[in-house]
């Protein structure tokens, strides 16, 4: 006991190791958690002390969240936060510390961790029953799960199937469901992936994927017209997003462009982290939080550093190439612009035209091009914000958002999610992750516009 107390006291000074599961409405909070010195965001629930449950969830994602909760090794605890003071509603975490102020997450997590490790608070119990999904032993003559030698589905899990691989052999293939909370992927993204070794042979979307998790729609959505600005307003209510505001009223160019620069830099921070440069990613994340149009030199330094870093170029060039025809099928946005498609709603806006705006366009269309394009756009955005001199946009029903035009029938995220299966097949796992991260998909955006599109088809 003495040793345990000593260990708990020693551990008390460390940041709380947290695994974050991010639902709808938490996009404003989640990316910045890594800047909190009281938190250490970990990649695996097995390495966590505290589970952070941020945002709102629907029935399916709640089940996945409960499964993640059971993976956290005891002693474990839950800190939850949700926009609009409805934290506790429907969550299965009975003993969660529910917060209404997201700025308290760090201190609450540390306090909870200390109580758990010192034994002053009981570990959060399992939510899901620990049983085999199917009976198994003893059906066939060798005790196997079915009549044939490899028949049956032991524990309800089918055995690996055979399929041709790229060397012309017929080898085992396993089906893996990825998501909705796998750290390198955007929260809410779910994919059914068939892998052979680490080569992806087939990708499909689970039926519920787009409605899942991130859907902020509720009982009202049948009253709205497809593509209407009301749908976007609903989105905006959660997002506090200047881009949504720009759909309806004039907004200062400086606001839009600063938000764009910050978003692109925060995206870069995450991309760097997934590439293995976690510490540098944190530096960039801090820059994303603090950058101002008047002091843009750090971004120029960053751009130079990126160009010089051969290892990043090695890992991203030629990965996840979006062809010119695929880019043309996208509604627009950075991914299309990195593949040579220069559409940009900003070109049509008089305020931008007065500032002499020219979209940044790259030709190659691979992950490296998308990295470079976003950094160049961040630099450009800061320059525009600095020179804008108080000019405002003219609302036209379309706005160049962070990922593509907003107000169009199909959002860039929806188009990118739909493109994923054909893009990822044949890639190795590492390349596939690089590609997905470089596309910068937002499942909340995809889900809202998916709802809207579905209504459009129904009416």
């Amino acid at each position: 006991m003495g040793l345990k107390t000593a260990f708990a006291r020693l551990a008390a000074g460390a940041p709380a190791r947290c695994f974050a599961i991010v639902g709808a409405g938490a996009d404003e909070i989640a990316p910045w958690l890594r800047l909190d010195p009281e938190l250490a965001i970990v990649d695996s629930p097995r390495a966590a002390d505290v589970l952070l449950v941020l945002g709102r969830f629907n029935e399916d994602t709640l089940h996945a969240a409960a499964a993640v909760h059971d993976l956290v090794p005891p002693p474990r605890g839950v800190v939850s936060w949700s926009p609009g003071h409805e934290a506790a509603r429907g969550l299965p975490f009975t003993d969660a510390v529910a917060l209404s102020d997201p700025s308290e997450i760090g201190s609450a997590a540390v306090r909870l961790r200390d109580e758990l490790l010192s034994g002053r608070r009981a570990s959060s119990p399992d939510i899901l029953p620990d049983v085999d999904p199917a009976p198994w032993r003893g059906v066939g003559p060798f005790g196997q799960g079915g009549a044939g030698m490899t028949g049956g589905v032991p524990y309800g899990r089918p055995l690996a199937g055979r399929a041709n691989d790229r060397d012309g052999l017929k080898l085992d293939q396993i089906l893996v469901r990825v998501g909705p909370f796998l750290p390198p992927f955007p929260p809410g993204l779910m994919l059914d992936v068939k892998i052979q070794g680490d080569v992806i042979q087939e990708v499909s979307m689970p039926a519920a994927a787009l409605d899942d998790g991130s859907s902020v729609a509720d009982e009202h959505h049948s009253s709205e017209a497809p593509g209407s600005t009301e749908a976007m307003t609903r989105f905006a209510a959660v997002q506090h997003d200047p881009f949504i505001a720009a759909l309806m009223r004039p907004v200062p160019v400086a606001d839009l462009e600063l938000a764009r620069a910050r978003h692109h830099l925060a995206w870069l921070a995450e991309a760097l982290r997934v590439s293995g440069l976690e510490a540098y990613g944190r530096r960039v994340l801090k820059l994303a939080r603090t950058v101002r149009p008047e002091a843009a030199e750090p971004v120029d330094d960053l751009s130079r550093w990126l160009r010089r870093n051969l290892s990043l170029r090695w890992g991203t060039s030629g990965v996840g190439v979006v062809s010119a025809s695929q880019a043309a099928a996208l509604p627009g946005g950075p991914v299309a612009r990195a593949a040579g498609d220069g559409r940009d709603v900003r070109s049509l806006d008089p305020a931008y035209q007065r500032l002499g705006f020219m979209p940044v366009v790259l030709e190659v269309g691979d992950a490296l091009a998308r990295w470079r394009l976003r950094v160049a756009e961040a630099q450009q955005a800061l320059t525009l914000a600095k020179r804008s001199n108080g000019s405002v946009t003219t609302p036209s029903g379309l706005v160049e958002g962070l990922r593509g035009p907003m107000g169009a029938r199909v959002s860039a995220s929806t188009a990118l999610v739909t493109m994923l299966p054909e893009l990822l097949v044949g890639m190795e796992w590492g390349d596939a992750v690089t590609a997905v991260v470089s596309l910068d998909i937002d499942m909340a955006e995809a889900a809202v516009l998916h709802d809207v599109a579905a209504e459009g088809r129904a009416s």
Partner: protein
């Protein structure tokens, strides 16, 4: 060597192993804070690894659905044991050698060849897809680094005309192997990074696999696994020092002090790669390893052979 000498050597290897792991964790933390643009507080960083270890040790060891439980429990211990054998093969000072065998280089090579087994088991046994991909990756990686590693070590043994490590150190009395065989040390360090699955070669445990082979591991197993990984890094740096940087040789200071200084000199850049070099894609690494590193290491051993022949005449 008498029994007392062996005991002293074993105790000092254990001490060097523990201190090495701790110092490595500390250096890594200091570098991470510096690169992240945070205030570097070396003294705070000194206690941070202990805090992490304490918190990890207090967590339960969890399990998955139908794991290969024995292999899963074995893997971290195996990795730690192999790293310890690797370190024990290095003479820490004149006469201070725990594994006093006539084929020290081969012993080191054999221990390092089995690291592949430990990492693969760690990835395979939880019965979970992402760790398994991590395990597969390390097999591809292991087959790629093992050959350059073995070949450059043999090249370094050539001038000494011995496979024991102490004679290899003393053979560098006049000229260190890093000068005599300029290709040797860079190739060795690249292979060593792969061996420790660290930094750009952390392929089995990359962020794209959300932790890969140790994704499902928790509690004391995770603690042992991390410590063992750092110990592999320390063993690589120590062996590199003995074989390429003249080991304990040096003026004024005692041999052990030179050994420690030179080991740190190799260890710091090895650790730093994690913060400056992005993870390389598995397939490209394998291609480069077979198409460039292995031919270069063969060039290295041929050059060393010619030099040895010239010296013998």
């Amino acid at each position: 060597m008498n029994a007392l000498g062996v005991v002293i050597a074993v105790v000092s290897v254990a001490f060097v192993a523990a201190a090495g792991v701790y110092v490595t964790a500390w250096i890594d933390l200091v570098l991470a804070r510096a690169v992240a643009g945070l205030e570097v507080r070396p003294l705070d960083a000194l206690i941070a690894p202990l805090r992490w270890a304490a918190a990890t040790a207090l967590k339960a060891r969890t399990t998955t659905e139908r794991p290969d439980a024995e292999a899963w429990a074995l893997a971290p211990a195996l990795l730690a044991a192999l790293a310890a054998v690797g370190l024990a093969a290095v003479p820490l000072a004149p006469g201070l050698l725990a594994a006093d065998v006539a084929n020290g280089i081969v012993l080191f090579g054999a221990a390092m060849a089995l690291v592949v087994v430990a990492v693969f088991l760690q990835g395979w046994s939880p019965n979970s897809p992402l760790p398994m991909i991590g395990g597969y990756r390390f097999i591809a990686q292991g087959l790629s680094y093992e050959i350059p590693l073995a070949v450059v070590l043999i090249a370094a043994a050539l001038p000494a005309r011995s496979l024991a490590i102490a004679p290899i150190v003393t053979s560098q009395e006049h000229l260190w192997n890093v000068v005599r065989q300029p290709l040797g040390l860079p190739l060795y360090l690249m292979a060593g990074l792969g061996l420790a699955f660290w930094g750009p070669l952390a392929l089995p445990e990359g962020q794209d696999l959300a932790g890969g082979s140790s994704l499902e591991t928790s509690g004391a197993s995770l603690l042992l696994w991390r410590a063992a990984q750092l110990l592999v890094l320390v063993a690589v740096a120590a062996m590199g020092t003995a074989v390429f940087l003249g080991g304990w040789l040096g003026p004024l200071l005692p041999g052990a002090a030179w050994m420690i200084l030179k080991t740190l000199f190799l260890l710091i850049p090895l650790i730093a790669t994690r913060h400056f070099v992005a993870r390389v894609p598995t397939e490209r690494y394998v291609v480069v390893s077979w198409a460039i590193l292995i031919p270069l290491s063969l060039l290295d051993v041929f050059a060393a052979g010619i030099q040895a022949l010239m010296a013998a005449r």
